[in-house]
Subunit: 232 residues, 2 copies
């Protein structure tokens, strides 16, 4: 795969979901995203309005919803997403409730995923919707059920992890999901991504977006390795 | 302190906030709470209605709000709490946003805490409100700011941790908080509480309630030590 620093930055969502992040931290996140050319910033709902207020229009504001447990009733998930859109979110990363899959309640899981996606597809067709499931917490059979339900719901992206799972996302996770999901559903890899090597391997495995809270370090690494090494 | 198994059970909130919990797990949680005589069950908003539907009236249903990050705007926190009350919650454990304290924005922290507490005090005076701050993530100075703001807001309880903090709650944490908070604000100790010894020490330090996801094990321990040992 032929990669440039600019190309890598363009698929990264510069992320700060830390519950100790201050308003100043979010302003800095946005400034870094503008300077480097990241796709956007991924923040908690609390900071959507602030991020949108200070960001240039080309920097997308991504809000998580029901993060990180996904353990809200559907009406609360939709209301939280609606408030984020009103505050200026361009994209919504909603956590689906995998306890339904683990408890054999595929019907409830489908209601949870389809209910959210269909609402925003209908009411806010310009808003990009990503459905998150913590793949590292699922068995292979459970991943198949999740992929099947998500395929039916047709969000814009499937996101592999909240980052609260017992391990990070691997290229094998992405390859499996790529084989299970229809081509029009993109894959956002997230969770434990801390090096350029991981980013390159995940993109190579089929990821379309990368979510990471160490994007600045990764970009510094990319500048050293790709520009100095002449691999562009 | 003179303790009985029944007395210990009565101050415990039997807790399952695991994002992989199935509906069956929640039904079992409620059944255990009824059988043992726990104060109530503490669940995610997703499961408030189910818990209320299957629980006897004397078992309180406690819902967390904005859990575990507290990173929602105030209107979303209130809306999530309102939905939980409509679904049958007797008590609301809301996570306050400690990033405001860490960022030197005591004004925003006060708006967050007072806004939630005053809304529910006014609109739902029978609902018990607990304000959560992750004390293990705070410096001593920050704990003082949190205690000061919470003292002004007057919730029914202060809850010491989400359980997602880097360490559990200690008797020293509880003693410090007890010295800082007015007597009418109770203390719910939570986070990393897994043994009878911890429960006894935390109660002795001034805690009024205990939140734990290993309540059944603690009660078995209490039955062995307090009943067989004749310490009642």
């Amino acid at each position: 795969m032929r990669l440039s620093v600019r190309g890598i930055a363009a698929v990264i969502e510069h992320t700060n979901l830390d519950p100790t992040a201050s308003p100043d931290d979010i302003v800095r996140l946005v400034e870094e995203a503008e300077r480097v050319g990241f796709h956007g910033v991924c923040v908690n709902p609390l900071y959507v309005r602030l991020a949108r207020d200070v960001a240039a229009r080309r920097v997308k504001v991504i809000s998580v919803v029901a993060f990180p447990l996904g353990a809200l009733p559907l009406d609360s998930k939709i209301a939280e997403g609606e408030r984020a859109v009103s505050a200026g979110a361009d994209e919504l990363d909603v956590v689906s409730y995998i306890g339904f899959v683990k408890g054999g309640r595929r019907d409830l899981y489908r209601d949870d995923v389809e209910g959210f996606v269909s609402h925003f597809r209908r009411e806010h067709p310009d808003v990009v919707v990503k459905v998150i499931a913590d793949v590292p917490s699922l068995t292979a059979d459970e991943v198949r059920i999740v992929a099947d339900v998500v395929s039916g719901a047709r969000p814009h992206f499937f996101k592999t992890s909240t980052g609260y799972a017992p391990r990070g996302t691997t290229p094998d996770d992405v390859r499996l999901l790529r084989s299970l999901l229809p081509g029009e559903i993109g894959i956002k890899a997230a969770g434990g991504i801390r090096s350029l090597r991981q980013v390159v391997e995940l993109l190579d495995a089929g990821a379309d977006r990368i979510g990471t809270s160490t994007a600045m370090r990764i970009i510094e690494e990319a500048r050293r390795e790709l520009e100095v090494g002449g691999c562009q």
